[in-house]
Every structure is written in C-alpha cells, then in structure tokens.
C-alpha cells in the first residue's frame, strides 16, 4: 500500500519494561504476558493516517540490557522518533532514563522526537514512580510524556501516533530536511502525487516498494 511518508522509530529502555509488548500491542493488537526476550533487535511495521496522509511506521525494538548498549547505539541512526520506555513499577528503570537519554541524544539526529513512556499503568497497586515524576522528567528534558499499558492497550495507539504527529508537524514547519534520509523520514510514492512541492526528491524509489 502506498504511503506518503515512512518514519523510522526506535524503542529503547531497560530490559523488561515492556518494549516488545508495546510493539506487539500496537502492531498486532495483542498482549502476551510472557514475551520472548529480545536479543539484538526486532522489527514491526504499521500504517497510520495523519492529516489524511498515510504514514508507514517502521519500528525497531531493541534489547534493553545494559551490555547491549553498544549494539543499540548503532540503531539510532536514521530514527525520526524514539519511544523511551520505563516501568512504573520499577523505580530503577526510571532512574536509568538519564543515561538512555544521553545515548539517544548523542547517537541520533537532533530533531528526533522522543516520547517518554511510563508503561504498565494497569499495575497501579505496584506503582513505584508517580505520574507527576514522569511528567516532570519529560518537561525538564523536552519530551512528550504518556503513561501506557501494553496489557490493556491503554494509550498505546496514542503513544505511537502522537509521536508521529509531532514528527509530521516538524516536517510541516520545515524543521526536518525530508530529503536527508539520515533524519529517519522517507517520502513514499503516494506523496509524489499529493504534494508537488516535496515530490522532486529521491523519495519513493527506495521506500517505494514498501507495502503493508
């Protein structure tokens, strides 16, 4: 299916916070209580619509263990959006956010949109990190923030879509150079017909074969 844009996302955060479950909920609308652990990287894709435009999300779901950081770092390249996930029932996963953020800022392009996600919001009774703390952290570092539950699907759509909206707005504002693929955005074949101002680029030739 043709799309106007393709955005690359990367999901990062400590191991066991629910990165793969968020992805599974978003792409397959399912929840798996015991998910395989992720070694290296796994992938997901889904089409969404923003402002009447088809946007394909290509999502890289990374391994969370500290030891794999050197590998994960190589996957930031060309990401337009990042979902930085912590587990609201494990304070240490929140405490590690700073190092994740450093990594992300250092190895991605400066315009990458980062969505901070406090996952497992269904486990209210085991909560260790207050929502306000997440909000404060996000405000302080200029991130978007949301609490989600991959289990109940609460806010999962929104998390992925709001990130895309933010990226889309940045494109509209001209912040992203969409002809530079290092920014994690590719122009799809559909775009060439819908927006003539953007169509002259190489967009579409590589990503054009994409189907979803």
């Amino acid at each position: 299916m043709a799309y106007a844009y393709l955005f690359k996302y990367i999901i990062i955060g400590d191991t066991g916070v629910g990165k793969s479950c968020l992805l599974l909920q978003f792409t397959d609308k399912r929840f798996q209580p015991v998910h395989d652990l992720t070694i290296g990287v796994e992938f997901g894709a889904r089409m969404i619509t923003i402002d009447g435009k088809q946007i394909k999300l290509q999502i890289w779901d990374t391994a969370g263990q500290e030891s794999f950081r050197s590998i994960t770092r190589s996957y930031y390249r060309g990401a337009a959006g990042a979902l930085l996930v912590y587990d609201i029932t494990r304070r240490d996963t929140f405490n590690h956010l700073t190092t994740w953020l450093e990594d992300a800022r250092q190895h991605s392009n400066s315009n990458m949109v980062i969505m901070l996600i406090g996952n497992k919001s269904d486990l209210e009774s085991r909560r260790e990190v207050k929502k306000e703390e997440g909000e404060a952290f996000a405000r302080e570092h200029g991130l978007i923030f949301m609490e989600t539950s991959a289990k109940t699907a609460s806010n999962v759509e929104e998390a992925f879509i709001n990130t895309a909206k933010e990226i889309y707005e940045k494109i509209q504002e001209g912040v992203f150079d969409i002809n530079n693929e290092a920014n994690g955005i590719k122009i799809g074949p559909q775009h060439a017909t819908t927006n003539s101002t953007l169509s002259g680029s190489q967009g579409g030739q590589q990503a054009g074969g994409g189907c979803c």
């Binding site: 191991t15 066991g16 793969s20 599974l24 397959d28 399912r30 929840f31 798996q32 209580p33 015991v34 998910h35 395989d36 652990l37 070694i39 290296g40 990287v41 796994e42 992938f43 997901g44 894709a45 290509q58 391994a63 263990q65 500290e66 030891s67 794999f68 050197s70 590998i71 190589s74 304070r91 240490d92 405490n95 590589q206 990503a207 074969g209 994409g210 189907c211």
Partner: protein
C-alpha cells in the same frame, strides 16, 4: 522399573479447546469434504457425504467426571486445574483424558502416579485406534522418550495458549497461572522419568498423524492462531465416527451434507424435473468419485509418510547402537573418521546427544562438579543477602545497581522469558531452579562476563540434554570459545568483524540476495546477533536447533555462520521479494515450519569457501585488520 522402561513413542494426545474448537472444526471438515481442503481427513468411514460430527461420543471432556473420576488421586493437580476452568477452556480429550497412552507397556513415572498411568495406559491401549495424533512423528531423530515428554510440554503450552487467547477476548479466567504452576509437581515426576539416560529402541510408527512438532518453536507473535489451527486440524481427524453422532448432526446442519442435492424439493416448491434429478445424481456421483480419489491419494501419502518415518526411526535406533557401542568407547580414535563425521551430520540420537556434546565441547577449563557446587553455593549466598537487603536498597543508584541488575534481577526476569511456550522454565516449573542455578553459578565463576541476555537459552538447551553439573561444565566451556566470548562480552568491534567475514561467504554463495540486502541496507547484524547469541535455539524450532548444535559441536563457530547461509539460501526466493522491513521481520521471526532436512540440504549446499580460503582464514584476516 520395567514398567518405566516400557513406555513407548506412540504417545497419543488429543487436545481440543471446547467450545471454540467444536464449531470451526466441523466446518473445516465439511469444507474439506466438498472442496478438498487440506483440513479434511477422510477415512474409510468418513464418507464424503457425511458431515463430521460436532460432538463425538468417544470424546470425553476432561472434567471432574472424566479425569478425576477415573483416578482422582493421581490426576491431582492437573485435574484440579482443568476442572476448575470455565467451560470454553476445558481441555477435551478423546478416549483418555489428556491422553497419554503407551503402546504395550505402562509408564509409571513416580510411585504415587504409577497406578493412574497403569490405568490410563491400559485404556489407551485398548482404544488405540481412536487416537489420532501420534507424537512420535516428525522429528524422528528425537527419541521416543523425549517425544512423550515434549507432548506434555506441548499440551501445557496449548492449554496456556488458549487461556491467553481467551483472556485476550476479555473472558474472565478463573485459572491463574499459579494453578498451572501447581500442576508442576506432578509434571515434574513425568519429565524426570521421561528424560532418563537409558533408551529403548523406538518401535514402529503409530497411527496417522498430523504430527505434532516436538521441540517446536512457538513464536511469540504467531503462536496463538497456529496452535489453535493445529488443534482443530487434529481434532478434525477422527477415523471412526459413530453413526449416531452423524445423524444427530444432520438435523442441525443440513447444509453440511453433499447428499442434500439428491433430496426432493420441499412440497411448496416445484418438483425437480427428471433431467434435473438426473443431473443432480450425476453431480453427486462426481463429487463422491472426486472425494474418493482424494481419499485414496491421501491414504497413499500417509502410507508413504509412515514408511518414511519408520525408516527414519529405524535409522535412529541403528545410529544409537553404533554411537553407544562403537564410537563413544573409542571416542578419540573415531571422532574424526569420515564415517563418524557423516553419521554426526545426520543428527545425533537424543540419548547420546548430551554425551557427544560434552565430549566435543571438551573441558579446557578443567571445571569439576565440585567447583560447580562451590560457585553455586556462592551464588546462593548472594541471592540470600540480596533478598534480605534488596528491598531497602532498591532505590540506590549507580554502579552497584547495574551490577545487581546484570547478575540477579535480570536472571530471574529472563528465566521465565526463556522458551516460554515450553513452560518448564517458568516460575514453579521443573527446570526453573536448575536454570537459575547454572546461570547464577556462571556469573560467580565469570564475573567479568556476568550474565548476558541470550545465555539463558544456551543454558536451557544444555539442561535439557545434560545433568546439572555437566550442563554447567559444557556451558562454561562453550562460552569460553573465541566467537562466543566475543559476543557475550559484547565486543562490538569484534562482532562486526565476524559479520564482515560472514558477508564474504554470503556474497560468494548467494550474490543476488547479497546485493538485494545491500541495496535495502539490511546488514547482517540485524539478524545474526539473535542467531549467534542463542546458537539458533531461539530462532529455530528446538529440534532443528539441536541438530545445528550437533554439527556446531563438530565443526565449531564456522558452522554457526554456515547455518546462517543455509537459512538465507532456504528462503532466498522469498527474501528477494521483500523490502527492508519485511525481510528484517522475516529473519528475526523465522517460519515455524522450517524443517531440518530442507535446512540441512541448504547448509550442505553452502560451502564455506571463498576462492580457496576457508572460514578461519577469512575470519582471522578480518580480525587482523583494524
């Protein structure tokens, strides 16, 4: 003892989700009858015109009156578990509740369970022909014992899958995972008795099979629908269907019979003309003839399959004798002979597998079982002190926490994420503590490496094939090999050099695919990391992975990369059609039905030669370059 030894490979299980399974299965069968769909399984009794019964009288539901009724004391936890489940999730079995039947003799896995099994076994024996699913089918190099055990694992995996699916649908579940855990004490006896060192020769094949995949990978994202399909397919294959059931069914589903075409029209409609009636008769005859042809073909296929399997099983049995009598007693002299290497390539018989792995991996590190005990007790001490102080210091930040994460919390977290569909490694599962011990001892033994994700899969495969201490010894020595050390230390630069060496052979062997991947920026690290870290145990079905391990033990790291080439070759045509994201998804979630024979044919067709340079030369030259 004799009873214990006497159990056999034809352990037949029939599991079917009630409610959810009954209706679709019927339809599937009917559709099959009419259109030759793959789901239909016509037998001599199941004439094409006859719809499959929705309710099969010989199917008993595993409710208190069956399982518990037959032998309440022994079914114990399992019975509780099943009976307490709300209607839709009830496991239904045919003839024998959760039927494990043993061909001629009887299994007694534990003293207290002996009686039950005797009873189940007897009944299973007498009704053997009713049982459709033979578990001894596909992976014939697996021993009969392993088969039975895996049947059980599979059974539990299915149970849980259905629970999950139902939970997804929002049904209220009364069965908590705890309850499943309860049944472990019971399953544990079974597993223990099914993983003995001694092995009886496999007997002939049994029954027609859809064949359950033993050691089958149940991929996380695909498992639920696949499982249910298997179950439905399995459930649909009933060789004997009592007339009663069919009749009864006719009333409810007149559409499901092809013979309806022969009926006269209802009185309020104009009657059929003679020609029309004749045409209908002809059409009907054609349908019947067509169905009969299909049936015959199917029977032929089955016969062939069975013969094939029988042959394979015989060759396993023979190989086992050779390994035990000729090769293992003269290991050092025989291991490198051509005959042994060839036999090795065919796959090791399961009951010598652990032994051969151990011998081939060796023990350069000179680890003794005593040393393992020492490190294990150290690990236990650390767990104790952690659990005493852990909750208070949890808010600590900094290095100490990272350290703790790597060794303690993380192991715990990951064990349950190791082969989740097998269940045996989950909390409360029979191998949970064992895996915990081996990994814990290793982090004490090699604090410089520590626990790295992926290790749990390697340890798990070893635990499935070796005794605890031997598994640890093999584990530590295996991880000490240069390639494994590079990966588990996450020496990224060195890993990239391995990938670069792989690409040399990739390009040599599969230039088209290589170029395709290059043009879509699909680099080998994206799929190789997962494959190499876990030695394929996460990405391939477990039985296939074990066969890869066999030759990996023989040939070393080279074979890991060669297997990678084999997979790419096997799916070359598919991959050439896919874009970046599709290919990446495909390679990080390989198809579940990957067969070891096809894969090994592709591996064999991928020589590790670049000009006249071998893997070791290419790889070391890459590593020299900085």
């Amino acid at each position: 003892m004799s009873a214990r030894e006497g159990h056999h490979e034809s352990c037949n299980i029939r599991v079917e989700p009630d409610g959810a399974g009954a209706q679709p299965r019927t339809q599937a069968n009917v559709a099959g009858d009419l259109s030759g769909g793959a789901t239909s399984n016509l037998t001599s009794q199941g004439l094409p015109s006859s719809p499959a019964p929705t309710k099969d009288p010989c199917r008993v539901s595993a409710k208190p009156d069956t399982i518990q009724g037959e032998e309440p004391s022994a079914s114990g936890h399992l019975g509780d578990d099943l009976s307490s489940r709300p209607h839709p999730q009830v496991l239904r079995t045919r003839t024998v509740p959760n039927s494990v039947s043993y061909d001629s003799t009887i299994l007694s896995p534990g003293d207290e369970d002996g009686e039950t099994f005797a009873e189940l076994g007897t009944q299973g024996h007498s009704d053997r022909r009713f049982m459709d699913v033979s578990l001894s089918s596909r992976n014939t190099f697996e021993s009969s014992r392993r088969h039975c055990c895996i049947c059980w694992l599979r059974l539990f995996a299915c149970t849980s899958t259905h629970q999950n699916r139902l939970a997804d649908r929002g049904n209220k579940l009364s069965v908590s995972s705890l309850k499943i855990a309860h049944s472990w004490s019971w399953l544990f006896c079974l597993v223990r008795s099914l993983f003995p060192k001694k092995q009886r020769e496999p007997k002939g094949p049994s029954q027609n099979v859809p064949g359950w995949k033993l050691f089958g990978k149940v991929p996380a994202r695909e498992s639920a629908p696949k499982d249910s399909r298997t179950i439905q397919q399995v459930a649909g294959t009933s060789p004997t269907q009592p007339q009663q059931g069919r009749r009864k069914n006719l009333e409810f589903e007149p559409l499901s019979t092809t013979a309806l075409i022969l009926e006269d029209r209802p009185a309020n409609l104009p009657a059929k003309s003679v020609e029309e009636a004749q045409r209908h008769r002809q059409e009907y005859d054609e349908m019947v003839a067509e169905a009969k042809k299909r049936e015959l073909k199917e029977a032929q296929r089955k016969r062939k399959e069975m013969k094939e399997r029988f042959k394979q099983e015989e060759s396993i049995a023979n190989a086992m004798v050779v390994w035990n009598n000729d090769i293992l007693p003269n290991w050092e002299n025989t291991r490198n002979t051509r005959r042994v290497r060839e036999l090795w390539w065919q796959g090791l018989p399961p009951n010598v597998r652990g032994k051969v792995w151990s011998l081939a991996i060796g023990n350069e590190l000179n680890i003794t079982p005593e040393l393992y005990e020492i490190f294990l007790s150290r690990a236990k001490e650390r767990w104790r002190s952690f659990s005493e102080t852990g909750s208070e210091t949890e808010a600590d930040d900094g290095a100490s926490l990272a350290d703790r994460e790597s060794s303690l919390d993380l192991i715990k977290l990951d064990i349950s994420r190791t082969f989740p569909p097998l269940f045996i490694f989950q909390k409360g599962g029979p191998y949970h503590d064992l895996l915990h011990s081996v990994l814990g001892a290793y982090t004490c033994y090699r604090p410089d490496v520590g626990y790295v994700q992926g290790m749990s899969f390697i340890a798990a495969v070893l635990i499935l094939n070796l005794e605890e201490a031997d598994a640890f010894i093999a584990f530590a020595n295996l991880l000490n090999k240069p390639c494994q050390l590079a990966f588990f230390r996450v020496d990224h630069d060195l890993m990239l050099k391995y990938f670069a060496a792989f690409e040399v052979f990739f390009e040599e062997n599969l230039p088209r695919l290589f170029n395709h991947f290059q043009s879509s920026n699909l680099t080998p690290d994206l799929y190789l990391i997962d494959w190499i870290f876990t030695l394929y145990s996460k990405s391939l079905p477990l039985d296939v992975a074990c066969r890869v391990w066999d030759v990996f033990c023989r040939d070393g790291e080279e074979f890991l990369f060669r297997t990678g080439l084999g997979i790419l070759r096997l799916y070359e045509d598919v991959l050439l059609q896919l874009d970046f994201i599709r290919s990446a998804q495909f390679l990080t979630r390989l198809p579940e039905d990957i067969g070891s024979d096809r894969l090994f044919a592709c591996i064999a067709a991928a020589p590790m030669l670049n000009g006249n340079r071998k893997w070791s030369q290419v790889s070391s030259s890459k590593q020299k370059k900085t």
